[in-house]
Symmetry: C2
Amino acid sequence: MTENSLVEPQRGRNVLDRHLGRYAARTAGMTASEIRALFSVANRPEVVSLAGGMPNLAALPLETLSAQVAQIIAEDGLTALQYASAHGLPLLRDQICDVMALEGITAHPDDVVVTVGSQMGLDLVARLFCDPCDVVVAEGPSYVGALGSFAAYQAQVVHVAMDEYGLVPEGLRAALRRAGDAGQRVKLLYTIPNYHNPAGVTLAIERRAEILEICRTCDVLVVEDNPYGLLGFNGQIHPALRSLDPDNVVYLGSFSKTFASGLRVGWVLAPREVREKLVLAMESATLCPPTLNQVIVSRYLATHDWQGQIKMFRENYRERRDAMLSALERYLPPGCTWTKPDGGFYVWVTVPEGVDTKAMLPRAVAAQVAYASGTGFYTNGFGSRQMRLSYCYPTPERIREGVRRLAVVVRSEMDLARALGTAGPGIPVPRAPLTDLR
Amino acid sequence: MTENSLVEPQRGRNVLDRHLGRYAARTAGMTASEIRALFSVANRPEVVSLAGGMPNLAALPLETLSAQVAQIIAEDGLTALQYASAHGLPLLRDQICDVMALEGITAHPDDVVVTVGSQMGLDLVARLFCDPCDVVVAEGPSYVGALGSFAAYQAQVVHVAMDEYGLVPEGLRAALRRAGDAGQRVKLLYTIPNYHNPAGVTLAIERRAEILEICRTCDVLVVEDNPYGLLGFNGQIHPALRSLDPDNVVYLGSFSKTFASGLRVGWVLAPREVREKLVLAMESATLCPPTLNQVIVSRYLATHDWQGQIKMFRENYRERRDAMLSALERYLPPGCTWTKPDGGFYVWVTVPEGVDTKAMLPRAVAAQVAYASGTGFYTNGFGSRQMRLSYCYPTPERIREGVRRLAVVVRSEMDLARALGTAGPGIPVPRAPLTDLR
């Protein structure tokens, strides 16, 4: 959706940047993500976009919200439109503790910091902890916005493989060992335990304590990013990593997927000392999160059946997940595999060798379907045989049609690969052995 | 207003921070600002706070706004509550160009980036340009939030003196010369040309071109922070630095003082190449600015007499400025001097030698008046004989009463200094020769 994209080659490409010598070293790491660059194309109405991660807000009670916000401004406008604390409104921080209690978290409201979306939480955590060359361990693939923030602070991301049960503990151990042997300082494990973006898998309960133990032993702080935790399709809720090791986990939460993304209200729950630093970082980043938005969320939580609303969202996403899985089964050619998410927004698809999802993307868009190619979710060039398909936003009919179009493109790429003799084993396409998640 | 403050010594002081060895080097520079630490005390109703910079929103048309926002959510909720572009809504960027046109700025909406308050613009500019040890030249005194952001990116701030006509060009030349001689890289001049925070002075028109010329010659990018530019008490509007040198000025604007601070909507106007980097930095910082807030501002600008509203704000602030200046004249003891702002929020007061405004502050609060002591506006220990008085928020009566109480405290400090023999010339209190702004 940004204008700052590959689709505008005329503007900004041909002119020398006269400020080039002035930028900080970290700015060199700031490049347009493949996924963002694609948004402007994927937003054309004739294209079925399976690329973005926009939540489907259609189930929101707009009339009720409208009346509620009107009342907030009319009655409490002088407060709601004024600066407030960088820490976040006390009442909202209290309510956030109630939300987290669903995942087994016991927390003091003082240790919650409200942020402008959980992306800001991520960015501030990277700011607090990452010196240039520090290592952050993350799943491979991992959330593109996290990779961007770590790059912005010049940290190096080391990917650890997942399987269908999430992050592989042995892979984590090996990565930490290798980093130690190389004299690198691993600061953080960044992980999305539930309904992973983009992989769609969930960290098995029996692995959670083991991973926490590894991190504690190796003095690595765990950053648990959990925007989808309440979107389990059978109503299942997994214990948060934070609930198992309060002192060594920084937890990132968000109302973007359970209420409204455009309000940009997220939070960080952090050990107290870290929380104090986070409040200072918030002040530097934006003085305070928007007051009105916090009051809207707080009023909504206080007066609305928000858990019932989440159930509606869940059912909506489950219907779309079903549509996507059955369409994949029906249309995709043999040799393709994919994950089977039981919550969240995403399916991670692996195509046969010889097909490059990044190279295929323009042809898919020409065939009026868009996806996010896998390479954007790695910092090491992996993912060229993978793609993320989002089922969160389009209707089930559009999802089916999108997958049908995509299958045609994949088949045609496979035919081409066979004709060129590049299909099948032995092709030197970089890939992560454990990350195609069969 | 933050909990992370000096007033809570029990929490967080006595316990060792077990994460201490994990922080990035930049985190060492993150310390609670004196001004923020003071907010929780100054907010007690019995204390007249001349400390904060909260705009006075009482003149806002809350009923109209309430109806407008209700309509936005009811009719356009699915868009207004959804993610949008990191760049900012196109219509709003267009309208922002109209606002800036009042200051003589000709800009393309593409070169505007909407931020979460102009503090975020500041932070992102520091992020893009400041490597550790880079020098940022700023007025002495300067805006505390800017000093915090530069510190967060480990830049070194060099203060340049002001007089009643703002930044002194010869001082700027000398500072750049000294930095060059010391082999330092000066990246930015950070300046608040209009109704300076905290000094209350305005950069004379005849100095503007000269300062721009100095910066261009020395390859220093100018960051023009202009939240108060439309709040000149006689309706005067000065030409923005950006209007005089579009290619070498990054302009920061804000709706916090001309509309509503709690919406956190600001913007950056930057040369195109810098703007492209800013959009990427925005994505990393928060994905996108809150959509609802942008729509609210946009609708307000489109449907409301926003210039008439600014006129009301201005008259309100002028009345308060008048109350403060006449109270200072009436109550402050001889030997005190102060600036005479013709716009904005602040008066900068200098007390006689022997009085230390930082040490005096607890006694002032005990006497039920609060101010911001001058040292918080310097990175070099200067400002101990200065204080910032804000007249933006309290009523004229409260302002008069606050100044009356303050005068009692200052007199008593002067008496003490005389008794101890510390008053008068020759006392080794650090001070900037040109910055008491007589």
